[in-house]
Each structure stands twice: as structure tokens, then as C-alpha cells.
């Protein structure tokens, strides 16, 4: 029976890439807890990417079929041609594995002029994954054997560079193509022990085990109307692990304290724009933008995609309008064109203590980047190098600790949504 995939992707324990992570010292010391979180998830993610494909099974099947088709020749020559996107290292590994399996089946590998049978193995691929195509020439007969091989997913590695001020750290990869709207790390400090994931159909609570995220519980989000395209959602988590989830026309309240409980109802409550429930809020429309109606005495210039406070406790905010113009406050002056759609404020100990992160101006078919900017008064200027994403950033929200932001990106290579923590350190 067809079933949607659920469950946690394998993360992992300490791995081979640990030396790539910069040490924390000097000015970084204050950010040790943050970097601890980053290190924890980076190591888990990087190890997951190095899990090798098991070629043995395919090689064993190949040897079996050759024996069947060519009558277990005592000697065989082997030529391997790579017509796929497999890297050379994998080709060498496959050669070794195939040779081992052929030998185990009683076939000695020899040069073509000494062989009873000749095997040309083409490492091919089709729409579904790798395909080994073996042409066996035995006497005057030739036969082809086709063996599909399990496909390894290989999303690009995220990394921490010691040379930039904006850090991107992998948190979560959705196991299927369901859009992730927001995630929240629970536990905090150097011990992030749980993750709350809001997607288009449910809120899920995962616990960090030694080697992977383990799904503890999910609560479905029942809805009576279709979601809008480019669905957006926001998670707001308190210190007591009580949370609120905001979706267009719906609000859910729950607790991740012991298990996961949640109740949802139709509501047009204003969404929080900051990191806590006391901050400014804005009403969200039925599509993918805020209507422009605000609470807390903050004025907006009209419909907008996202907003961020220019300073802590500031009454003046930057707005990225639906026209993709950057607008400061509700002034009547025209905004500045050429901006993207997402903006979030992050607290740091650098510069003026607060930086604003922005995404750029392509569309959902393109890779993306997030740029940190410095705010001075009502002015804004880029600071440091941007961090790149292998797909569009579809959500950018400030995290509950204010020291980081959550970015969700659709990986164009895998088609799956990935969540990252973005934080800033000083050089």
C-alpha cells in the first residue's frame, strides 16, 4: 500500500569532518553554547552524508546473473565504463566489490586474451537512480544484464567557515517533499535535546538521540479549506515549552513538555513578528503575505512579506513589501526596489549588536543566499559575506533565543526542505 514517508532521517554521531569545525576561543567564547549547537548538528549531518551505498548487493546479483547466463566461466575479463555521475572514488570501490564477488563465485579475473568470457560493465543511470548494465560476451553469444541499484541521496554539505561572520548550520531535512514552514530548537544552550517541526500537515516533536533525531510524536493539523500556494507558518515557543503555531486562517496552541499536545482552530489572530508573544504582531491574509494591519502601535506601509525591528524594542521596523521594495517604517516616501521577500533580525555581540538578515531577488527555481546587514539608524548596509543555499529560502524567522534565525530552504537537488540555524559571530 502506498504510504507517505514519515520518520526522522538518520543523522549521526561524531564523524570524520570534526577537524573542519573552527575552535572556539577569544571573542568566540561568549558564543560557545551557540557553537555547541552548531557543532552538534553539523557533525550529525555531515556523518549522514558519508553513509556509503552498499554496492555489495548489486555486485552479488551481478555475479549470480553472470553465472546463470554464461554458465559460471572459470575466467572472465572485466571492463568498467562510467556513464553516470558517480565520482571516480565510487567507481574504484565498485570495481573492487565486483571483482570480489566474481572471485567468490569462482570466476577468476584475467586479461581479455586469457578469458573464457568478457564482461563490460557500464555504470549508467536513469530517472530512478543508478543502473548497472553488464554486457556479457561468451563464445559467440552476447547477453545484457540490467541491475538497478539503490540510489544514494547526496545533498550538498553545509559547513561552518571561520572566515565569515554569518554561520549557517544544518538542523533538519524533511524526509519527504512536504514543505517545512518553521522549526524550533528546544532545550537550548549546548544541549539542544528536541526539535519542533511545523510543516503543512502537522507539528512533529523529535528528540535527539545519540545518532539521530527520533520522532516522539506528531499532531496533525486538520483544515477545512485548502492551503494557499506558497504556504507560510510560524512557530512561537515559550520557555515552558508551550508553543503556538500560526497558519493562514488558523492558530494552534500546544505543549511539547511531556509528549506533544496541540489544539487547532480557525482564527485570524495576528502573527508575532518578533521572538516572543509580547512583541509586535501583524495580521496575515489568506495568501502569502501580511495585510499591513499591525498591533502594538507599529505602523506599516501596506501589505508586506516580512518585517524586522531596526533596533531592540524599536517602534520602527523594516518592511519587505509585496512589491519587493524595502520600506523603513510607514513613511510616505517610496521604498527601495531590488530586495527579496524575507528579513529577520538577529542579536549578536558584533557591531551594533543587531543585524538584519535578508534573502535576495530570484524566484523559487534558483539557488539563494542570505546576507547579513548592519543597521545604523534607519539605514542598512551589507556586512560580511552572504551564505548560500542550494535552493530558495522559503522561510526566515527569528529564533526564540533572538541570537539566531531559522532559515528553511527547498533543496533544488533533492526537492526536500531543509532547516538551518543562522547566527553571527565577530571576526
Amino acid at each position: 500500500m502506498y504510504q507517505g514517508t514519515t520518520g526522522s532521517p538518520w543523522l549521526s554521531a561524531m564523524g570524520e569532518q570534526s577537524e573542519k569545525v573552527p575552535k572556539t576561543h577569544g571573542r568566540y567564547r561568549a558564543l560557545a553554547p551557540v557553537l555547541g549547537i552548531l557543532l552538534f548538528f553539523l557533525l550529525q549531518y555531515s556523518h549522514a552524508q558519508s553513509t556509503p551505498t552498499n554496492w555489495n548487493e548489486a555486485a552479488r546479483e551481478l555475479a549470480r546473473q553472470i553465472s546463470e547466463k554464461a554458465g559460471s566461466p572459470s575466467t572472465i575479463s572485466l571492463t568498467i565504463k562510467n556513464s553516470s555521475s558517480l565520482p571516480n572514488a565510487d567507481v574504484a570501490e565498485i570495481r573492487h566489490t565486483v571483482e570480489t564477488q566474481l572471485s567468490s563465485s569462482g570466476m577468476r579475473i584475467v586479461k581479455p586474451d586469457q578469458s573464457v568470457a568478457d564482461l563490460q560493465l557500464t555504470l549508467s543511470q536513469n530517472v530512478q537512480g543508478w543502473l548497472w548494465v553488464a554486457e556479457i560476451h561468451h563464445g559467440t553469444s552476447s547477453e545484457a544484464v540490467l541491475i538497478p541499484v539503490f540510489t544514494r541521496q547526496a545533498p550538498p554539505l553545509p559547513g561552518i567557515s571561520s572566515t565569515i561572520t554569518l554561520h549557517k548550520t544544518f538542523l533538519w531535512a524533511q524526509p519527504d517533499a512536504t514543505p517545512v514552514l518553521d522549526v524550533a530548537v528546544l532545550g537550548g544552550g549546548s544541549n539542544p535535546n528536541a526539535l519542533l517541526v511545523l510543516d503543512s500537515s502537522m507539528v512533529s516533536l523529535y528528540h535527539a538521540q545519540q545518532s539521530h533525531w527520533e520522532l516522539e510524536q506528531s499532531q496533525p493539523i486538520a483544515r477545512s479549506k485548502p492551503w494557499p500556494r506558497d504556504l507560510r507558518g510560524r512557530l512561537l515557543v515559550g520557555h515552558d515549552r508551550k508553543f503556538e503555531a500560526y497558519l493562514p486562517g488558523m492558530k494552534c496552541s500546544g505543549s511539547a513538555d511531556s509528549g506533544l499536545t496541540m489544539e487547532c482552530h480557525s482564527a485570524d489572530d495576528p502573527w508575532p513578528l518578533g521572538t516572543n508573544s509580547d512583541g509586535p504582531r501583524a495580521f496575515f491574509g489568506a495568501r502569502n503575505f501580511f495585510t499591513g494591519v499591525m498591533t502594538s502601535g507599529i505602523a506599516s506601509p501596506g501589505p508586506f512579506f516580512s518585517a524586522a525591528g531596526a533596533q531592540p524594542d524599536s517602534k520602527e521596523w523594516f518592511f519587505l513589501q509585496t512589491s519587493n521594495q524595502l520600506h523603513f517604517g510607514a513613511s510616505a516616501s517610496p521604498g527601495i526596489s531590488g530586495w527579496g521577500s524575507n528579513v529577520a533580525a538577529v542579536k549578536s555581540n558584533c557591531g551594533r549588536s543587531w543585524q538584519i538578515l535578508t534573502t535576495g531577488t530570484g524566484d523559487y527555481t534558483q539557488s539563494d543566499s542570505v546576507q547579513a546587514t548592519e543597521v545604523e539608524g534607519s539605514a542598512i548596509a551589507p556586512a560580511g559575506a552572504p551564505v548560500d543555499f542550494p535552493g530558495p529560502v522559503t522561510a526566515l524567522w527569528p529564533a526564540s533565543d533572538s541570537n539566531s534565525a531559522i532559515a528553511v530552504s527547498k533543496n533544488l537537488g533533492t526537492g526536500k526542505y531543509e532547516a538551518f540555524s543562522l547566527s553571527i559571530t565577530c571576526r
Binding site: N126, A144, L146, T322, I336, Y364, A379, P382
Partner: protein
């Protein structure tokens, strides 16, 4: 003043990186499409003959109708109007559970009985379908149906209600006005179960020549036009925005089994050996296709290279010396397809290299029984699932029932079935070609599916590039 300068500076710096990042989609506007096919019916169950008409029918049907399942970019079946499905161990029985609370555009509730009514219009002789309750469909067959979900993902099995001008679907767009062969106007389905499209409407002009389409794109009167694969390179060099699928059609020669002149297999092999597929691809297809001795392209099957495609004039001449050669062979091609004409004429030249006279004639293929010795046929795969794609090709090229093709599900079985089809040179593949589209600058979020088609519901229009005013705020 200082603030403005600073903002401008910042904006200019960030703008330098534009085109490298993402903007949220905007709602509103009208997407203007032009097609050359004179499509006469919107009914997905009706069979179009020419490749261009099949293409138009598939693309337009996907705007109005939903299938039970869809294939993702890896060829795996995903839920559409059916949420789940299961099969008996022998694959002779399948049960599909349908989505609830879906309505056709005319307000009629979608249910199992309506789905059966729609599916029976195709009258597939290989399976029977019946409703079980309100939300369950049961398919049964005397032979295994291992590829049924992929088969049902094709647009010809999309679920429709009603007929003629009153036909209605459950898809992202609904018909606002329809002039067969001339113009179709669609408006967004606000209640679409898979989320309302970004654009408010789509206008499709039919029967528009490729030349006129190009002019309209240049003048800003169209957002999406067809571009022949052989024109794609030129269009890019002229600065146009062009997107293309992976190869989704195959050109092949099909010998007429009724014609005595081509009954000798050696004659057919002579012509196959004389074909210079690489030259056809390099010159006529401007390297946008893939020369191939296989029917299915490498990206779908993974084994296309196993079928020889080398130009072997020596072998052709050797065979030519062994056989009785007719005075002239007649090769038919679709008169409405300029690319087919060019390929057919090149095939005739290759045949003459092997000292066989061949005359290429443009005809309305499918309008009547062919009296030609062979035809140049252009066939759409209509699926990225290898067994289904091969079945579609087989249904067009070999009218005789081919149970081994229908029952194939593994790569090895599909390879054997394709080998059987090509054995004896009754069918000789030449090249596979992609579909290409020209886009205006205001089309955003264009995600070209590998197998061809449009994801029009995900497209949005950048109003700063002209035409529509931005409709905002209306839920």
C-alpha cells in the same frame, strides 16, 4: 538625505547579487500562451493524432483536470485525486482510495462513480474498473498490471465530468471561455484542493504559427510560446529566454508490414545502417536532440546505449548488393511538422547514399490508412516511467497487441520488450528530441518538468516587467 543615499547604496550593492536569490511569489495577472496546434476538444480522453496536438492536449488538460496519481521527477507515483492505493500480490487487482470533499468546477461532487464514468471513456481493454462505495475504486484484470499507477498518471486518464463545451474538471484552472481551435480562457480555481494558482487567469491562443508566436513574444504580447527544438539554440543566441525538457519524443522510421517492397529484413537493415543519426542531430536538430538507436532515451531507460546507432554505410552497401531493390520507396511524414520534413528529406538522402531511391512525401498522417512503404513518425513518451513510456510508443508504432510490453516492469523486462520491438528493423529509431518553450521576462518560478509540460499553477508574473496590474489582497 543621508539616509536615502545610504539606503540607495545598500540597495545597489544587494541588487548586484540579484538573480541569485529568491523572492516570494506574487498573486495575480494573466499568463498568455500561444500554441500552434488547432486543438478542437478539451476532453483529455479524445485522441489527437499529431505530436503537436498531443502536446497541446496534454498541457492544457493538466491545467483543467487532475489524474488519480501523479509521477514525481523520479517517476514515483504520488497522490493526486487518489490518496492511497494497494494491490493484490499478483497485481491483477488494485484498490484506490479517493480524496474527499472535492468538487468539479461546475459544482458536481467528485466521487468514485464519477471517476469510473470518466475512466470508462478510454475503454482500456486490459482492465475493468468499478466503484466501491463513494470513495474507492477497484481495478481488475486477467493479467498483471504492475504499472497501473504510472499508467493512470497520464493525462488521458485524467478525471473529467461532462462532455463537449460543458466538460468540467477538478484542476487548478477552470474554463472561462472556449472557442475550439482558436482560443481558450481559463480562470484560477479559488477552491483548488492543491492550493489556488498564483495567476488569476490564462489565455491560450491556438493555431498560431511558430513564426507569429516568436513575433508576439518579441513584442511582449505573449508570455509562453513554443519553440522548435532545432530553433532553441538560435533563440538563446538572440537573447531569448528558453527552457527545454529532457528528450520526450522520438523520431522513428516505421516500415509498412503490408507493403511487399519492404518485407525483406535486409532492405530495412540497409536503410537503418545508412542513417547518419549524428549528422541529423548536429545539423537538423542543432544538437538539441539525442541521436539514438533506441526508442526510449537514456535518461528514462538507462540502457539506450545498448542499441547500436552507428552510421555504417559499408554494411549498408554490402547488404544492398545482396537484395532486390525496388525502384523507389515512398516515405511519408507529417506535412504540418517542419522538423519532420527536414528529417525525412535527410533520411531520403541517406538512403540514396546506399543506392536506394526514396521519395519523402508530406501527408496528413492518421487521416487515412497509409499506402507508403514507410513513415517517419514522431511519438511522445507521455510518461517518464519507462514501462509506460514504452507502452505508449508501442501503441502508436505497433498496433498489434504487445503483452510483453504491457507486463514489463523491471529494467531488464523493459529492455527485453524494447529489443523485441526493434528486432527485425520494422521500427528504426533515429533521435529523441525535447520540447522547448520561450518565456517572457515577467514569467517567474518556471520549473520545467524533465518529462515536459507546465507547472502553470506555480508560475507567477512579475508585474514590474509590464502588462498586467498586480492584483493584490483578494483572498
Amino acid at each position: 538625505m543621508k539616509r536615502s543615499v545610504f539606503l540607495l547604496l545598500a540597495a545597489s550593492i544587494l541588487l548586484a547579487g540579484a538573480g541569485h536569490a529568491a523572492t516570494r511569489p506574487h498573486y495575480g495577472g494573466t499568463l498568455r500562451i500561444e500554441l500552434r496546434a488547432p486543438l478542437a476538444s478539451l476532453d483529455p480522453a479524445e485522441t489527437e493524432i499529431s505530436s503537436a496536438a498531443q502536446s497541446a492536449q496534454e498541457h492544457i488538460a493538466a491545467l483543467i483536470f487532475d489524474p488519480l496519481v501523479r509521477l514525481d521527477e523520479k517517476g514515483a507515483a504520488q497522490p493526486a485525486l487518489a490518496l492511497t492505493w494497494q494491490h493484490a500480490p499478483d497485481f491483477k487487482s488494485w484498490q484506490f482510495t479517493l480524496r474527499s470533499y472535492i468538487k468539479f468546477h461546475d459544482g458536481t461532487p467528485f466521487n468514485a462513480a464519477k471517476a469510473v464514468e470518466s475512466l470508462l471513456k478510454i475503454a482500456n481493454p486490459h482492465w475493468r474498473v468499478r466503484a466501491e462505495g463513494n470513495d474507492s475504486l477497484v481495478f481488475e484484470s486477467d493479467s498483471p498490471l504492475p504499472n497501473l499507477p504510472a499508467e493512470l498518471a497520464q493525462m488521458r486518464y485524467a478525471i473529467a465530468h461532462g462532455s463537449g463545451n460543458a466538460i468540467s474538471g477538478t484542476g487548478p484552472f477552470q474554463v472561462a471561455s472556449w472557442q475550439p481551435g482558436k482560443q481558450l480562457v481559463l480562470k484560477a480555481n479559488d477552491d483548488y484542493w492543491d492550493a489556488r494558482p498564483y495567476v488569476d487567469s490564462i489565455e491560450i491562443v491556438l493555431s498560431r504559427s511558430l513564426h507569429d508566436q516568436m513575433v508576439d513574444l518579441d513584442l511582449g504580447r505573449a508570455d509562453l510560446i513554443e519553440i522548435g527544438p532545432e530553433q532553441a539554440r538560435n533563440a538563446v543566441q538572440e537573447g531569448k529566454r528558453v527552457v527545454a525538457s529532457s528528450p520526450n519524443e522520438v523520431f522513428a522510421l516505421v516500415f509498412n508490414p503490408e507493403k511487399a517492397l519492404v518485407r525483406d529484413e535486409r532492405l530495412r537493415e540497409t536503410i537503418a545502417s545508412a542513417l547518419d543519426r549524428v549528422a541529423i542531430n548536429n545539423v537538423l536538430l542543432q544538437k538539441e536532440g539525442e541521436p539514438s538507436g533506441a526508442l526510449l532515451p537514456q535518461w528514462i531507460s538507462g540502457y539506450a546505449f545498448l542499441f547500436p546507432m552507428a552510421h555504417n554505410l559499408e554494411r549498408a552497401l554490402q547488404l544492398r548488393g545482396e537484395i532486390m531493390v525496388p525502384a523507389t520507396l515512398v516515405l511519408e511524414y507529417d506535412f504540418s511538422d517542419p522538423l519532420a520534413k527536414a528529417v525525412a528529406e535527410r533520411v531520403a538522402v541517406n538512403a540514396r547514399d546506399a543506392k536506394i531511391n526514396m521519395q519523402a512525401l508530406g501527408e496528413n498522417l492518421g487521416a487515412r490508412g497509409s499506402s507508403a512503404d514507410l513513415q517517419l513518425v514522431r511519438v511522445r513518451f507521455a510518461s517518464l516511467d519507462a514501462p509506460t513510456a514504452l507502452s505508449n510508443v508501442a501503441a502508436t508504432l505497433s498496433p498489434a497487441d504487445a503483452p510483453e510490453t504491457r507486463a514489463a516492469s523491471t529494467a531488464a523486462q523493459v529492455y527485453r520488450a524494447e529489443s523485441a520491438m526493434l528486432n527485425g528493423f520494422q521500427i528504426v529509431p533515429i533521435a529523441q528530441v525535447p520540447e522547448a518553450w520561450g518565456l517572457s521576462g515577467r514569467v517567474r518560478n518556471w520549473m520545467q518538468p524533465r518529462a515536459g509540460g507546465w507547472k502553470a499553477a506555480d508560475v507567477w508574473l512579475d508585474v514590474s516587467q509590464g502588462a498586467d496590474s498586480h492584483a493584490e489582497g483578494r483572498p
